[in-house]
Symmetry: C2
Subunit: 240 residues, 2 copies
């Protein structure tokens, strides 16, 4: 693939599972609720029912931990036929609080990559989800200094990115997005003529998964970690 | 009071209870939960316990309906000594969903005021709370056309406003904030040297209430409705 990052002025970074661990905590929460609800159903059914509930509530609750917890409570009541104990519901609330209190665990090479790139490009953190939660993680991460600012979007669709580019007053070709989710961080950007680099994380929420058809002939590069990004963009800087 | 709005370039508007009804829906929800929990406690105690729970959870959940619902569930379990029925918990979840689905009811004179002022000033909507919920209300309100953009802050303290002014690249003296909450929309602005106009709403959440001491000698103007704002700023335009 012939990629040219010469004209890039601004680089947008996804946060969850691109800069730090996130999905792993949702997976852990799913294991915890499957255990709590084991008297009523198999882990597989609980997983499926929770996912259905999350998708059903997504237009109303949006992304983030609080909506996830509300969906867990609702699922627990339904799956138990209105017999789940108050103690179990309290435990579900606690799962959510634990998630919100989790420390921020940076992925490999994140800090040095941001440090290097912040000298040559304007970096922006672009996340979706809960504003307070994302700000809190940002602060805990100690990465604030490398970013020009943080954009928390209610969703990451083409329209959200187009508005953002308009706001930044740059052309799509001058923007590069880096993230782990093909659906949220890569395809919408490629579709509006911007650049995108995919850094897969080892686990992806079902809702973020895309079909082969959707990625067919879409132009984006895939790397295995952020350290590689530094090389790609530095190489360009040296050549130009 | 001698107020001079000559140098104002940007006007920030609070949204909830300044442009549209909001607190009323929280009051209604509090009445509804007091009714649901009537078998366990007096309305007064339920109110107090819910407020305590909200404040306790505020650092973790932040502002907005989802955190409010999670606090209601937690309070219901505690106040009932772990005996509240699944049906009641489901009803609490439904209270939250109803709140999120409420239509947007504009306050008097809002649209014409924004329409007029948007011709002479850059208007920005500045809210705190849930990003998705605020975006949804903004869309339902049909007011988007009058605003340059929307800022959803995780909190409305001096530091949040200072960062905003920096981002807008204007001096504090060039900024005017209009809102119903002394604590969130007025005092922090006055304290950083910006202008503020208070438009009280008939009901204020306890957490947003301030003492007389806090407002003593603070310079801000109070008006009874947004229509008055149009007059104040238009008058200035005509005079200058």
């Amino acid at each position: 693939m012939n990629t040219n990052y010469e004209h890039i002025k601004v680089i947008g970074f996804d946060a969850d599972d691109t800069l730090w661990v996130n999905e792993t905590y949702f997976r852990d929460a799913e294991l915890a609720i499957a255990k709590l609800m084991a008297p009523y159903e198999t882990a597989n059914t609980i997983d499926q029912e929770l996912f259905k509930k999350e998708i059903e509530n997504l237009p109303l609750y949006g992304y983030g931990i609080k909506g996830f917890v509300l969906s867990m409570v609702e699922m627990a009541i339904e799956i138990s036929n209105n017999t789940v104990s108050n103690k179990t519901i309290s435990s579900i609330l606690d799962i959510g609080k634990d998630m919100l209190n989790k420390p921020v665990e940076l992925l490999d090479g994140v800090e040095e990559t941001l440090k290097t790139l912040s000298k040559s490009h304007r970096l922006i953190l672009i996340t979706k989800g809960d504003l307070l939660d994302q700000e809190r993680k940002m602060e805990k991460s100690n990465l604030t200094q490398y970013f020009h600012h943080v954009e928390v979007l209610s969703d990451k669709k083409e329209a959200n990115y187009s508005r953002l580019l308009e706001h930044l007053n740059i052309k799509a070709s001058q923007f590069l997005m880096v993230g782990n989710s093909l659906k949220s961080d890569i395809l919408p950007l490629v579709n509006i003529g911007a650049n995108a680099i995919h850094v897969p994380f080892h686990t992806t929420w079902l809702h973020e998964q895309v079909s082969e058809e959707e990625t067919y002939k879409k132009e984006y590069q895939t790397i295995t970690g952020l350290t590689e990004l530094k090389k790609i963009l530095n190489q360009h800087l040296i050549q130009s």
